[in-house]
Point group: C2
Chain length 204, copies 2
C-alpha cells in the first residue's frame, strides 16, 4: 500500500477493506481493459469507492498496478518434489501458469515499461517483485545442497543466484509473452535439462 497507517495516529483510520477492494478492482480492470485503457476512475467505480480515495493512497497508475501485481506474484511457492530437477520444472510450470493469467502478463510488462524511465518505480518493482521472488532460487539451491545434489557454496553464491533467476524468469516470460508460445511439460523439461546440465558443466 502507499501509506501504512502511522502508529498512534489520531482520527479515522484508512479502511483496509477499501485497500483490498481497490487492488481486486485493479486486477479485474487489467484483465478487461489492459494497461493503456485502464483508468483510475474506472477502478474506483469497480471498487465501490470514490476516485479521491484511490488518489489518497497511490500517486498514480504505475504504483497501483505494481502493488496489484505483487499480490499475484505472492501466490508462487516452491513445492518440494524430491529432486532439484523436479523442483525447477515445477517452478517453471507454476510461473508459466501465473503468466497465463491475463492480469499478470499485462501488468508485468506495462510496469516494467514504465519503470524504464522512472527510478522510483524501478525501486518499487525491485522491492515488491524481484527481491521477493528471488527467494525461490535461494530456497531451491538450499534444498538441493541439503540433498547432496550440488556442492555447498565455496564462493559468493550471489552472482550465480542472479544468473539462474534471470535465465529462468527471462526465458519463461519471453516464450510466453514475446514469442507467444505455450510453456508445456515438454518445453519445461528440455529447458530444465539445459539449465541444470549447463550449471553442472560450467561450474557456476
Amino acid at each position: 500500500m502507499q501509506s501504512h497507517t502511522p502508529a498512534g495516529r489520531a482520527g479515522r483510520p484508512r479502511s483496509a477493506a477499501a485497500d483490498a477492494a481497490i487492488l481486486a478492482a485493479t486486477r479485474e480492470a487489467l484483465v478487461e481493459l489492459g494497461w493503456s485503457k485502464l483508468t483510475l476512475g474506472d477502478v474506483a467505480t469497480r471498487a465501490g469507492v470514490a476516485k479521491t480515495t484511490v488518489y489518497r493512497r497511490w500517486t498514480g497508475k504505475s504504483e497501483l498496478v505494481t502493488d496489484a501485481l505483487a499480490t499475484l506474484f505472492d501466490q508462487l511457492v516452491l513445492p518440494d518434489r524430491g529432486s532439484l530437477r523436479a523442483d525447477v520444472e515445477g517452478v517453471v510450470l507454476q510461473f508459466a501458469d501465473l503468466l497465463e493469467q491475463p492480469a499478470t502478463k499485462t501488468a508485468l510488462m506495462a510496469v516494467v515499461a514504465e519503470a524504464t524511465h522512472d527510478e522510483a518505480l524501478r525501486q518499487r518493482l525491485r522491492e515488491k517483485i524481484v527481491a521477493r521472488q528471488k527467494r525461490l532460487v535461494v530456497e531451491g539451491r538450499r534444498r538441493a545442497q541439503s540433498r547432496g545434489e550440488i556442492p555447498a557454496d565455496v564462493t559468493d553464491p550471489g552472482p550465480q543466484i542472479d544468473l539462474i533467476f534471470d535465465v529462468i524468469a527471462g526465458a519463461v516470460v519471453h516464450r510466453t509473452l514475446v514469442s507467444c508460445e505455450p510453456v508445456d511439460a515438454d518445453w519445461a523439461s528440455r529447458f530444465t535439462a539445459v539449465l541444470l546440465d549447463g550449471l553442472a558443466a560450467a561450474g557456476g
Copy 2:
C-alpha cells in the same frame, strides 16, 4: 509502414520522407517521454507533419511504436568471431547494448504489454520483430555446424532454435529491464558457458 503505396495507383503518392520523419520522431519521443506520456499529436509536431498525416498511416500508438521499434532491432547483425562461443557472447553483448538505448527498452516492454490483449498487435510483433531476429540463431547454428563445432541436424531443429532464442533474449531482457543489472563481459561469459554446456550435455 501501415500501408504500402498500391502499385499503379493514381494520385499523389505518400511521402516516404514523412514516414521516416514520423518514425524518427517516435523514437525521439519515446526517449524523452516514455510510453504512457507519448502522444501522437506530439509525434506529429516533432516530425513536422500534421496529426492527420500520422493517423492516415497508423491506426494507433501501438502500431506506430512497433514499427519504430523494428527499425531499432534491425541494427542487430551476427559478426563472425571465429567460434560459436565467441559468436554467442558477441550477440549477447550486442543485444544488451541495444536494450541500453532508452527508446528500445521502453518501447519493447510497452508493445509486449499491449500485445497481451490485442491479437493483431501480437501478429505484427511476431512478424516484424520475433521472426526477423530469430534469423540470428539460425545463422549462428549454421556457422557452428560448418565449423564442425556441433553436429548437423538429425531431427527437426525448430524446437531447439525456439528454446535457444527464448533463453538468450529472455535472459538478457530480464537482467537488463527487470533485475536492472548490467550485462557486462563477465555476465555474458558466464551465461554463454551455461547455455552452450547445457545444450551440449542435454543434447538439445
